[in-house]
Amino acid sequence: MVRGVVAPRAMNEIAFGPLGVDPAAWWELFVHFALLSLLAIGGAITTVSDMQRFVVGQKGWLSDAEFSGSVALAQAAPGPNLLFVAVIGFNAAGLVGVFVTLLGSLLPSTALALSAARWGATRRDQRPVRAFREGLAPVTIGLMLATSWVLTEPARTSWGTWPLVALTLWFMLRTRRSPLWPIAVGAAAGVAGWV
């Protein structure tokens, strides 16, 4: 859940190359992303450096700027962070790339998650499963604190950062409105250069 922080860069500076790689590469793309899927404890973002090594360094399907542009673009859009994988696939190999990278990233982890959950559900009351539930709860809360801290990293030196965090906290703890409101305020503050 701790996301690697990708330095946002001006996306208008990024020139994307022509779409497409040869079909044999689709299989390679699939296999590589499928392998990473099983290593992605904490989410696909934790394997981003290896994806970059493969797609940019080894294969040259994307340039460095295209790669980080892809990740940043997905972070700006709504939805699970995993979608950055689809943007990388798209920029490397068009719509086929989207299909191949998403399927590769999802298939192995999905199969594992569903079988593990079903296994656990039938043993809910057994001591090891109960201990897992109880023991991992504080770990999960701790990870959220860690994620929160890591997310402030690119903006920690700006004066506007801490008031904005405080405002968001107040909004979330004291009102019942959608988080879209503070997100919009944050985007505006960022555009205005306050953070």
């Binding site: 208008n12 290593l39 972070q75 699970p80 999905t110 709860a137 950062t161």
Partner: protein
Amino acid sequence: VAERPGPRSPAELYTAFNRLALQGFGGVLPVAQRELVERRGWMTKAEFVELLSLGQVLPGPNIVNMALIYGDRHFGWRGAAAALGGLMLAPLAIVLVLAIGVRQGADVPAVAGALRGMGVVAAGLVLATAIKLAGALKGNVLGRGWCVAIVAAIALTVGLLRWPLAFCLLGIGTLAWCAAWWRLEP
């Protein structure tokens, strides 16, 4: 157990996860907590933390794992597919349109600034969610002292020291698991 509302059909699961995914800029987790626990009342805080723990420890995106497992619990594989589709399809379409826009040379000069600001707010959102969910630790078998120690150890090693997540999960997670196992002794 039966009084709590839950999804009545895979279609309702799809709608719920679609709605929360579309509000999830910079991370879906805080919205998921707000929608599933606070607004719809489909889960208690403790159940949310439990699902998230499971999603966390398993490889793959936490929120995706969570959606799959929750959907599967209610409607089997149809539920898992509905929750996953709700979470992914519309956001995927949006992100692809954006990607095509950027390829065609759309000029987005303010995006870097907006992203930085949204990142700061996302930090606040996750922090608020952690504070709310900490309430779920009250009845924990580990007791207050252990809970605080584990939360602090993870926040310190993963957040401040940036040690590899898998390593910390394995180390501190196993310790927490053993401590809970020991404490559960009848």
